[in-house]
């Protein structure tokens, strides 16, 4: 499979990066560089043994609820976690949310969980109508 994925950023994700750029533009550049040049090549790091995605509590919790997302974790920006979905049919990676790693990280009622779930549902509802 030599699929090239298009990387699409959700509006909440873009806004969050805008805010982050005001504080730390270098981190934003690093994130964008990973999204642009790495994620399309390795969209499923879990299956290649380079990530501990199977141990991600957030991903597991979302999976239990029926939301199949992946997480981009990098020690290059280890204060943040980026969540995205992969739509193989359209060769599209939709980046949903960036969440700081803090006390709300594992709270299933946190705004980050809600944002991920809302965007995920919206994506597949709209996609199904096309």
């Amino acid at each position: 499979m030599d699929t090239r994925y298009e990387i699409s950023l959700s509006a909440p994700f873009s806004k969050a990066l805008n805010r982050l750029a005001g504080k730390d533009p270098d981190i934003v550049k690093r994130i964008l560089a990973q999204l642009r040049y790495r994620l399309p090549l390795d969209p499923y790091p879990d299956e290649q043994g380079h990530d501990d995605i199977f141990h991600s509590t957030v991903v597991k919790n979302l999976e239990i609820d029926g939301y199949y997302v992946s997480r981009l974790k990098s020690l290059l920006f280890d204060k943040y976690r980026i969540f995205y979905l992969v739509d193989e049919d359209y060769s599209l990676i939709y980046v949903l949310e960036i969440a700081p790693r803090d006390s709300t990280t594992y709270d299933r009622h946190s705004p980050h969980y809600r944002t991920i779930k809302t965007l995920y549902l919206e994506y597949f509802q709209n996609r199904g109508q096309k």
Binding site: D2, P25, R30, A33, G66, E88, Y90, Y120, G128
Partner: protein
């Protein structure tokens, strides 16, 4: 697909994006989760919308290229790639990724691309670029040739 059909015949249900996998054997559970992670439909095809055309970009979203141009209008693609290159080198230096993976990423190849170029299977590429694996000389030579680097740069 044969495995999926077999799994379906074994009696699990699919409802929307939620799959009841608790009653499946581990083998089928792994397969279903892998399908789900890719957001692949595993229902019968006559229940699945026929998908045609180009990428359906969600409303309000931006491509990463457009966002980068808006956010950093003075930064060239090469400058962003240099950021990627430096960060990937840092990952390699710290032992988090192998030298093979480092060179594959810099060449902007997928594992499948590299597999095709070397005539190897993708699974073997994945193993070759694992940080805990040292490929044999023949494998290294093939990969080095495909990536356009010297063998010594991969070990």
């Amino acid at each position: 697909m044969n495995n999926i059909a077999t799994a379906m015949e074994s009696g699990f249900s699919v409802t929307g994006s939620a799959v009841n996998i608790q009653s499946l054997t581990q083998k089928f559970r792994t397969m279903v989760v892998q399908c789900a992670r890719r957001n692949l439909f595993i229902a019968e095809t006559d229940q699945t919308p026929l998908i045609t055309g180009a990428v359906q970009r969600p409303a309000g979203s931006l491509t990463v290229e457009d966002f980068t141009r808006q956010m950093f209008p003075d930064m060239s693609d090469q400058e962003l790639f240099d950021v990627f290159k430096a960060d990937t080198a840092e990952e390699m230096a710290s032992g988090r990724i192998s030298r093979i993976k480092y060179h594959r990423l810099l060449a902007q190849m997928t594992q499948s691309d590299l597999a095709e170029k070397t005539g190897m299977r993708q699974a073997n590429i994945a193993r070759a670029e694992s940080v805990n694996h040292t490929p044999n000389q023949n494998t290294l030579r093939k990969i080095a040739a495909a990536l356009g680097v010297e063998v010594k740069e991969l070990v």
